[in-house]
């Protein structure tokens, strides 16, 4: 008798436990699940490996010019995000006796550039002078900026002073582009 009473007391608890288990793992002909993803700001770019600067003249009447093409991918935060592309001359022209960004042979010799950036980017508004010590602007992005899946294009058009003081030869500098997004 006493044993029967104990079993009756346990039964409701066991039933509740069984129901709770079946709510999680219910078999049916259809099932749903929820997928969640948080899309954050992101940016990447790709630069043409080498840009050759050339001059159209032979009488010191034209500076050395050339264009570096780039492709960028960007996504900025919807209402408050921003983004930017900058560049810096991370290795000055070498070998010596030629052009130099840091220590040009004549004051006023510069490596300058202008920028173009397809929408949603905005290219730098005026001619910039490249530097070995600080990053200089190439372009900016506003809030909710989104590039194409394959990326959008941009370019930097270089102008290097043609100074007679440069010895003849081939000189190479390395420029590092950086893209960021918030």
């Amino acid at each position: 008798m006493r044993r029967s009473q104990n079993i009756r007391a346990l039964l409701p608890g066991c039933l509740l436990l069984a129901m709770a288990g079946s709510a999680h793992a219910q078999f049916a002909s259809t099932g749903t699940t929820t997928l969640q993803v948080t899309i954050g700001p992101e940016a990447a770019l790709q630069i043409a490996a080498t840009t050759n600067l050339t001059t159209a003249g032979t009488i010191f009447n034209a500076n050395y010019t050339g264009t570096t093409n780039l492709t960028y991918k960007v996504r900025t935060t919807k209402s408050t995000g921003t983004g930017a592309i900058t560049l810096k001359v991370t290795t000055d022209f070498s070998p010596s006796s030629g052009p130099s960004v840091l220590t040009p042979p004549t004051a006023g010799d510069t490596l300058t550039y202008t920028c173009t950036l397809t929408s949603p980017g905005t290219g730098c508004s005026s001619s910039q002078t490249a530097s070995t010590s600080s990053s200089t602007p190439v372009g900016t992005f506003g809030a909710d900026a989104k590039s194409a899946s394959a990326g959008n294009s941009g370019s930097v058009a270089w102008t290097l002073t043609d100074d007679p003081q440069y010895s003849t030869g081939t000189y190479t500098a390395t420029v590092t582009f950086t893209i960021s997004a918030t």
């Binding site: 940016a43 990447a44 770019l45 790709q46 630069i47 043409a48 490996a49 080498t50 840009t51 050759n52 600067l53 050339t54 001059t55 003249g57 032979t58 009488i59 010191f60 009447n61 050395y64 050339g66 570096t68 780039l70 492709t71 991918k73 991370t90 022209f93 030629g98 052009p99 042979p105 004549t106 006023g108 010799d109 490596l111 990326g151 270089w158 290097l160 002073t161 043609d162 100074d163 007679p164 003081q165 440069y166 010895s167 003849t168 030869g169 081939t170 000189y171 190479t172 500098a173 390395t174 420029v175 590092t176 582009f177 950086t178 893209i179 960021s180």
Partner: protein, 178 residues
């Protein structure tokens, strides 16, 4: 057959890897900017119109100086220099002439100065047929960015045979770098 397919698959995989290595997106990207600096030269004649004058009335020769500024960058070769040529002889008949002077021995001669890195040529007689030297440059030299100076001092024989009047010739300077 199976071996051939395996080789083909491996080759395709290598090609795919190579292509991604070239076209990789990243937060930063580097590119090289290269420039080939070549030999180059230019000249500017600062004395566009020069009037030769005689110091006296006793048939002292007519003299005057043409100033110029040159820019140059030479390479490892030799033969760079500045030359001049009378490209248009004195106009008007009866006056001085470089090609056919009224008296044998009448000349338009000159001496030169040329600041370093140029070396002035020795004095010379201008002609309408040949380039004559003003100065030379050695290998691997360069002028200042704003240019360096030089000059040509002219001496035109004062021949009584010249008819009174004004006569003009055109002299063309040429600079070349190697």
């Amino acid at each position: 057959m199976k071996h051939t397919i395996n080789l083909f698959v491996t080759a395709c995989a290598l090609l795919a890897l190579a292509s991604t290595a070239h076209a990789q997106f990243a937060a930063t990207g580097t590119g090289n900017v290269s420039v080939n600096i070549g030999a180059e030269a230019s000249i500017q004649i600062d004395t566009k119109d020069l009037t030769l004058t005689s110091a006296g009335t006793s048939f002292a020769d007519y003299t005057g100086t043409t100033a110029f500024t040159y820019k140059i960058r030479t390479g490892s070769g030799s033969g760079a220099g500045i030359t001049l040529k009378v490209t248009t002889d004195f106009s008007g008949s009866g006056g001085p002439s470089v090609a056919s002077p009224p008296t044998t021995g009448d000349t338009l001669s000159y001496t030169c100065t040329l600041s370093s890195p140029g070396t002035a040529s020795a004095g010379n007689t201008a002609t309408t047929t040949d380039e004559t030297g003003v100065g030379t440059f050695g290998a691997n030299v360069s002028s200042a960015k704003t240019g360096n100076s030089g000059s040509v001092s002219w001496v035109l024989t004062n021949d009584p045979a010249y008819k009174a009047g004004s006569y003009t010739a055109v002299v063309t300077f040429t600079i070349h770098a190697v």
